[in-house]
Amino acid sequence: MTKNITSLKAKNISAGYGEQIIIRNINLDIYESSITTIIGPNGCGKSTFLKSISGIINPVEGNIEIYGNDVTNLSTFELSKIGLGYVPQSENIFPSLSVEDNLKMGGYILNSIQYKKNLDKVLDMFPDLKSKLQDSSSNLSGGQRQMLALSRALMLDPKIIMLDEPTAGLSPIIVNEVLENIISLKNSDLSVLLVEQNAKKALQVSDFGVVFSFGKKVIEDVADKILKDKEISKLYLGG
């Protein structure tokens, strides 16, 4: 596996809520056209890491670079303008808006021509949503909800996309569908940073794997190697 251009570089990130520090001194690079998956037990700081990258919480120390530019002090909405997409784990759609309006909010900063273009592109990728545009988004099924959340994030043509447990609570068939979508993202030159409980399946589609434990990065390697490593399997992949 060749390593492409580094798109996102997290240097020495520590972050948490208020006084409580949850992740400590995390270094992580992710690369163009690749999928990196972070796995680890509940509460190990995976989601906190994504939140601190996206600026929802401010890291107490460390630097974040996107394509070589320091973006540590940018606020969340500015980060999304320069190409960082993020789909949080839960509450990742606007329930009081219709499906179409959710996508419209996804493309909030676009002008109407670009918006139309991106909307068509996203709907090509998720044709299921096409017939539901006028529906209230709170009536969507779990899988459709994830698709809406993902398409919402894709409305801005991100270069990097972070997905927090996109398969949580979905049936096995839909899990595969979502993972296929993620692979197709990678093929269109995106860098994907994935956080997953469904570790085995996620690593199977990933290029790189990272293991977090107690707020620290403990292992970083090519995904295949992590899958094959017996020790890691026993500890983090459920045997």
């Binding site: 996206s54 600026g55 929802i56 606020s75 969340t76 909405f77 999304s80 303008k81 993020y86 949080p88 509450e91 990742n92 759609i93 606007f94 329930p95 009081s96 808006l97 309006d101 419209k104 909010m105 996804g106 909030y108 900063i109 919402r152 994030a153 409305m155 801005l156």
Partner: protein, 331 residues
């Protein structure tokens, strides 16, 4: 139609609804008065509901913003048009053209003032994640301070709002409508509908609703939520100012406590209609107005505030999420 169904869903609400309807048939002139006064309450409560729904706290200073706007409008009128007493009034109404010129300036001024207070006060509270009650308490401080300022500048006594006396319109069934009140009601309805259009049909309105749903997610999608919040304050200020001025036009007298006294009916209307729902606030305002007026047909009119309080209590007991809202516990 959905709203009508909801009203009939709950038996107690159903009974109360019929009682009000029956009583209003007995004295239809009170019903009409109630609609006119209720439309003014509606305008005030739409602004209050907007802030309550989107910024998640009970803004105790809303009433004092209304008071302030009345005084500012009056001051501008007297300053720029000192001779407006002699000029002719508009059509069948009691107010002069000059007042109509002054209103937009006042309204925009109050809107910007609300934005300024957000920058000075509420932004800081948001940044350190203050609890809703702590923010509401701070707005109480602002309410007290504003009232003190109004009393310091314009005195504690009531002030006359310049007007020319005009005849009421006489309609059948003893219905008498002061033309001014009709004007105010029409303006209130137009503004309520415009605001509804903004909130549900425009991109800005959708961004406001998105921010209210989930501010973090709104930021992730690229919405500058801090700017959206400033829009919310501006619109809230404009709605407060408009309703404040319309109420003073209609009452012809303004006092420093008028805004504070109106808080209870406004909050009752907001809760009846469901917090954050502008159409709900409009209907809530009308309901409160009608109930209050009809009650005066049987009890001492000075008990009107007590009636509003009673409506608030009944709503909190029966449907704390409002008549249009869902059942059960909120948040």
């Amino acid at each position: 139609m959905k709203y009508i169904d909801l009203i009939f869903e709950n038996k107690t609400i159903f009974v109360l609804f019929w009682i009000i309807l029956l009583l209003s048939l007995l004295k239809p002139w009170l019903f009409v008065n109630g609609i006119l006064i209720g439309s003014l309450y509606a305008l005030g409560s739409i602004g209050l509901s907007l802030i309550y729904g989107n910024l998640k706290f009970a803004n105790m200073a809303h009433g004092d913003f209304m008071t302030l706007s009345s005084y500012v409008a009056l001051a501008l009128l007297l300053f720029f048009f000192p001779n407006s007493d002699q000029s002719a009034s508009v059509g069948p109404f009691t107010f002069k053209y000059e007042l109509l010129i002054v209103i937009p300036f006042t309204v925009v001024f109050i809107g910007f003032l609300a934005v300024l207070f957000d920058k000075l006060i509420y932004k800081k509270l948001r940044d350190f994640g203050a609890a809703p009650a702590a923010i509401a308490l701070t707005s109480l401080g602002l309410a007290v301070g504003l009232r003190g300022l109004i009393q310091f500048i314009w005195g504690t006594d009531s002030t006359r709002f310049p007007r020319e006396s005009k005849l009421f319109w006489d309609l059948p069934f003893k219905i008498k409508i002061p033309p001014d009140m009709f004007f105010c009601a029409i303006v209130a309805f137009i503004i309520a509908l415009t605001f509804y259009f903004i909130l549900f049909k425009t991109k800005l309105g959708k961004a406001i609703r998105a921010t209210s749903d989930n501010p973090d997610l709104a930021r992730i999608t690229g919405i500058n939520t801090e700017r959206i919040i400033l829009y919310i304050w501006f619109i809230g200020g404009v709605l407060a100012a408009t309703s404040g001025i319309l109420i003073s036009m209609q009452q012809a007298i303004i006092t420093p406590v008028m805004g504070w006294k109106i808080l209870i009916p406004l909050f009752a209307a907001v809760i009846v209609g469901g917090i954050g729902n502008p159409i709900g606030a409009l209907m809530g305002g009308l309901l409160i107005g009608i109930t209050g007026e009809i009650a005066t047909g049987w009890i001492n009119p000075s008990y009107k505030p007590a009636v509003y309080f009673l409506v608030l209590l009944i709503i909190l007991l029966l449907r704390p999420n409002g008549i249009l809202g869902s059942k059960g516990r909120q948040f």
